[in-house]
Amino acid sequence: MDRSLVEQAQRGDREAFTRLAFDLSDRLFAVAHRILRDFDAAGDALQVTLLRIWQDLPSLRDPTLIEAWAYRLLVRACYDQLRKQRRQAPALQLLPMDGAADDPATSFADREQLEQAFQRLPSEQRAAIVLQYYRDLTLPEIAEILQVPVGTVRSRIHYAKRALRAAIEADARPPTRKGNTA
């Protein structure tokens, strides 16, 4: 990230901020989309985050940390979106992601189970999983973004993976036959 661009935007230069927003948006949107599993909600989270970045940019002490800081604001915006979603639609829906059907690496059944199990995870666990497995960030980096101790990140990922694994394994188990005598 161009440090001078951040510094110009910090001083109120809207042109510089526009360039900064376009530089950041793809990465922010991709993370929001994966946490929220909803295209429009991810767009809303991105919009809120960009505005918040602009408003609070003067308070960012180290311009080189812009990306980590932006993720922190994005994750908060995602938490707000999830809260709204849960209020509006208590029954979670299965949301197809672009290109999902073309990827042979993950079986359809696994994807379906992952999708459902992921949507049942608390928002904090979703964020930790996406930052680790999609952004490939280290635990300390995730802790910095989520503003929690490393141990908390570790436990969130542990609980999230346990739930996801249980969902996949439940699907892999042969169905129990009822009323079937040998």
């Binding site: 922010l28 989309h33 991105l46 960009l50 938490y79 707000d80 696994d110 497995y133 394994e169």
Partner: protein, 261 residues
């Protein structure tokens, strides 16, 4: 069979699916908002930087001036009160003001949790203070905030306990903070239901049930104040199925209350 590497790879593959491109309409909509919006906080940053960059001697002078000013203001407002016994202090005023050093003795920690409780995580400072507040709300006044300590206990996927404390400079500051935190749990915040029965903990107390903290649908909260410290004992998860037992929670609250006294 070890499924761990499989799950890691499955997660990576699954998360790699999906859009990596932000639609421009969202970016332009945000930039429209930016156009109508001013930056904030620059003055605050400038003030903070002045303090950070200040030489130690200058910082001592400024701090001394602030303390002298505070004493002078107190003398003006309260008066010298010479030759007059004045009103008797309330029990709360008479009690010793608690300090940051007291918090680890009040909150359930690794060192003092009763048998059967395991501390999973510990948070302190502003992070612990802000934990119970819903995002998007107004900010609590932190001018008199001193420190906070919070632990999560016996956490599982479906529940657990929280032992929480937040220390303020004076009992009056803590009273204001109590109102704020109580409000955060009510209709203006998480929307939990306040019990009509006062749990009778500390100098003032309240209890709440319902969904909160973006975690579980069922939570039970005891919130109370002892002099200048706010305390909370929280059960998150389904308290009716034994993941976090309501009686056990009240026992935690009473233990914390005893320790604070």
């Amino acid at each position: 069979m070890n499924r761990e590497p499989d799950l890691d790879q499955t997660l990576r593959d699954w998360l790699d699916e999906g859009s990596d491109h932000a639609p421009e309409r969202f970016i332009w909509a945000a930039l429209d908002d930016v156009e109508r919006s001013a930056q904030r906080g620059a003055w605050r940053v400038s003030l903070e930087e002045r303090f950070v960059n200040m030489k130690p001697a200058a910082l001592v002078l400024v701090t001394t001036a602030v303390i002298i000013g505070a004493i002078a203001t107190y003398q003006l407002v309260v008066g010298p009160n010479i030759g007059n016994p004045g009103p008797s202090p309330s029990p709360s005023q008479a009690a010793r003001l608690l300090t940051s050093e007291d918090l680890p003795d009040i909150v359930l920690t690794d060192a003092n949790a009763p048998a059967g409780f395991t501390v999973d995580t510990t948070e302190s400072g502003v992070l612990a203070l802000l934990t119970p507040f819903h995002p998007g709300g107004t900010f609590i006044d932190q001018s008199a905030f001193v420190d906070a300590l919070m632990t999560n206990l016996n956490s599982t996927e479906t529940g657990g306990y929280v032992s929480w404390s937040a220390l303020f400079e004076t009992a009056v500051d803590a009273e204001a903070a109590f109102d704020y935190v109580a409000n955060e749990h009510g209709p203006a915040g998480w929307g939990m239901a306040r019990s009509s029965v006062d749990p009778a903990l500390g100098d003032e107390s309240a209890s709440y049930t319902g969904a909160a903290y973006d975690l579980f649908r069922t939570n039970l909260v005891y919130l109370w104040r002892v002099n200048n410290v706010l305390l909370a004992a929280v059960a998150v998860g389904d308290v009716s199925v034994g993941e976090a037992n309501a009686d056990q929670l009240f026992a935690i609250a009473e233990l914390m209350d005893d320790r604070a006294h």
